[in-house]
Point group: C2
């Protein structure tokens, strides 16, 4: 099973709508980086609105994929982090410090366009 990645103009959109198992998370990491490479997208929005639980492995993969995307030249915005997920991330020491966040997908896209200066 793979997570669909949508290309919209210069951005990629990903909505994670179920708990990821470890294999799917790693596959997602690979797919996203590949898609950034293929499309030359310079922004990524990852929407977690439907996720109400995150474990330490997934949190680490998420942190990694953000750093990797940045390395490849794509800015990442995480949207829709729920209270329980925010609590877990901070308790795990994963502050996602260099990451843009927004309350929902629309706001995330706006923030990204602002950052990209468009």
């Amino acid at each position: 099973m793979r997570i669909p990645i949508l290309k919209l103009y210069n951005c990629l959109l990903v909505s994670i709508q179920w708990e990821l198992d470890d294999q799917t998370a790693l596959q997602f990491q690979e797919d996203l980086l590949q898609k950034i490479h293929e499309t030359g997208a310079n922004g990524v929005v990852i929407d977690l609105t439907s996720i109400d639980f995150i474990d330490s492995f997934i949190a680490k993969v998420l942190g990694d994929v953000i750093d990797m995307s940045n390395l490849m030249g794509a800015k990442v915005v995480i949207t829709g982090i729920q209270p329980a997920v925010a609590i877990t991330l901070i308790e795990l020491g994963i502050g996602l410090t260099n990451v843009l966040t927004a309350i929902d997908l629309e706001k995330g896209l706006e923030k990204l366009q602002q950052e990209l200066g468009e």
Copy 2:
């Protein structure tokens, strides 16, 4: 397994990136209608760019979900129909006659916004 449905402003975006089995297709039908009801979306873009094969059952479900969405008041645009899929649809007698189509997700969204008069 479910197909993620993204809400963007007044539209829903769905990207189908792998061959659907019958159960997933029916689940998608149910999820999409439920999401239209929940969000009050008045447009839906279904992107088939990554699909290079469609069987008669999936084609029927797709045709049905378009009619059902229309009944509920949401316009549907299908994007990225590949040659082989177009051939199958026509050969099956599923012309998707009352459906808007576009070459890719961006053009589909533009067409939808035009149709919705925005």
